[in-house]
C-alpha cells in the first residue's frame, strides 16, 4: 500500500478507524464488566482479581498504553466526523423530522458526540479515582494469601456507598447504554462487513448488548450501595480527614 493510495482520513477511513476502535473498546468493557463481577463475590475475590491483573507484568503497561491509544483514536476520528458534519450544512433546516420506516435515526444515533463526550470526561475521572486513587501507602492495604496487597475493594465500596458517586455512576452507565445502542451495529456497518441479513441481526444485537451492559454495570454500584457489608465489619476503621 503506497502513501498516495492510503487515505485514512477519507470519509470512509474516518469511520473505519472509529468503528474498529469502537469494537476493541466494546471488547474491553465486556472484559471489564466480567472482571468486576468479582465484586459480588466479596473483598478477597475482587482484591485477588486486581492483584492477578497487576502480576501480569509487562503486559499491564502495554495494555494501558494500548487502551489509551484506542480511546484517543476513537475520540479523534469521532471529532473529525463531527466537524465535517458541522461544515457540510452551515444553514440549518427550520424543521427537521425523521421519515421513520427504514430509518435508524434515533435519540441514540443523534447524541453519539454528546454521550461520547460525557464518557470521555467520566473515563478521566474514573481512572483518576481508582487507578491513581489511594493505595497501600495511604492505608488501603489488606492481606491476601499472607501477602500485603492494595485494598481496592475498600476504595470501591467507600466510593459507591456515597450516594452522590452512586447517582453519578448510574447516570453515566445509562449514557453508555445510549452510546452502545447505536455504536454496536454502526461499528460493523462502518467496516462494511454487514449484509442485508446480518445488518438486521446486528441492529437487534446492538439493543440487546446495550441493555446487558447497562444492567451489568448498574448492578455493581447498586449492590455495593445496598448489599455490601460496611467496611467497619471487615475491621477497617474509616479515617475521615
Amino acid at each position: 500500500m503506497n502513501a498516495s493510495s492510503f487515505r485514512p482520513w477519507s470519509s470512509i477511513g474516518k469511520k473505519l478507524f472509529n468503528g474498529l476502535t469502537g469494537i476493541f473498546l466494546m471488547l474491553f468493557i465486556i472484559a471489564h464488566l466480567a472482571g468486576n463481577l468479582t465484586l459480588l463475590v466479596g473483598a478477597d475475590a475482587f482484591n485477588g482479581y486486581a492483584e492477578w491483573l497487576h502480576r501480569l507484568g509487562a503486559i499491564v503497561p502495554v495494555m494501558e498504553v494500548g487502551l489509551l491509544a484506542l480511546v484517543l483514536a476513537h475520540v479523534v476520528s469521532a471529532v473529525a466526523v463531527y466537524s465535517d458534519r458541522r461544515a457540510a450544512r452551515t444553514i440549518r433546516y427550520a424543521v427537521v423530522a425523521s421519515k421513520g420506516g427504514a430509518s435508524k435515526q434515533t435519540v441514540f444515533s443523534r447524541s453519539m458526540i454528546l454521550t461520547g463526550a460525557v464518557l470521555l470526561v467520566f473515563l478521566v475521572l474514573h481512572i483518576w479515582q481508582f487507578r491513581f486513587g489511594p493505595s497501600i501507602a495511604e492505608g488501603y492495604s489488606t492481606v491476601l494469601h499472607g501477602e500485603p496487597v492494595r485494598d481496592l475493594y475498600r476504595l470501591v465500596v467507600e466510593t459507591f456507598q456515597n450516594p452522590l458517586w452512586l447517582v453519578f455512576y448510574l447516570a453515566v452507565t445509562v449514557l453508555l447504554g445510549f452510546h452502545l445502542r447505536h455504536g454496536f451495529w454502526s461499528a460493523f456497518q462502518s467496516l462494511g462487513v454487514l449484509t442485508p441479513r446480518t445488518r438486521a441481526l446486528a441492529y437487534s444485537a446492538g439493543g440487546v448488548f446495550a441493555i446487558v451492559m447497562v444492567i451489568g454495570f448498574l448492578t455493581l454500584p447498586l449492590w455495593l450501595f445496598f448489599a455490601a457489608e460496611p467496611q467497619s465489619a471487615r475491621g477497617i476503621v474509616m479515617v475521615v480527614p
Binding site: M1, K15, V81, D84, V96, S103
Partner: protein, 255 residues
Amino acid sequence: MMSTNGTRSYSLRIWRQNDNSSPGALVEYRVSDINPQMSFLEMLDHLNDTLERKHEVPIAFESDCREGICGTCGLMIDGRPHGPAAGLTTCGLRMRQFADGATITIEPFRANAFPVLRDLVVDRQAFDRIIQAGGYISVNCGQAPEANSMLIGKDVAEAAMDSAACIGCGACVASCPNASASLFVGAKIRQLALLPQGQAERSRRALRMVEAMDREGFGDCSNHGECEAACPKGISIESIAVMRREYMRTLLARG
C-alpha cells in the same frame, strides 16, 4: 375551514432567497381552492399563478417529468425530503396527505455542496462531478453487442437494478444529519460492481468517487440510515456497506 366545494386551504412557510450570495428567509403565504387530488407541485403552480396575478415574483422551484423519474423536484417538506409519504418524489405527493388548514414548511435541500440558486432551487452539479470521477463504464462505439454474448443472472440484474434505481434527486443528502452523499455514491458503486460491464474500472472506481465526494464537501456517513427512509426509490444502506468494501478492495488492489 373546509370549503363547500371540498377544496382545501393551507398556510405555507416557503424559503425565499434571491441568489446564493444573499440571505434567505421563510415567507408566509396562504393558498386556497386546493383540490385534494392536486399534486404538491400543482399546489405551488397555483400559488405562483396567484402571485403573478398580483405582480409578485413567483417562487422558483424545479420540476421536469412530474412522474417520479427525473429527480429534479426535491423539496424539504415539513422537515422531510419529498414530504411525509414513503417511496414518492415531491411531484408524486398529493395534497390529500395534508389536512385542511395545515401549515406546511417548504425549504430547499440543504447542504453546502448543494448551493441555493434561488428560493427552492439548488445546484446539484456536485453529483455530476462525482459521477464523472468514476461512475461510468467504458464501451466501444459502434453497434450494440449481441444481447446473449454477456449473460447476467436474473438475481444479479435485480440486485444491480435496486441500486440503479437512483434518480439523483439528492434526498439522501438532504435527509442526512451529516449531509453525506454516501447513499448516492454507494448506489452507483454497487450497481457497477455487480455487473460485468462495471469490472473494467472497478479497481479504481470507489477510490475516485469517494475522493470526489469528499472534495465536494459532503459530510461523513454516521449510519443514521435516514437516507434509506428518505430515498424515493427505497435504495438500501446495503449500498453504503458495499461502497466501503469496494473502497477497501481498491486500496488493497493498489498494493
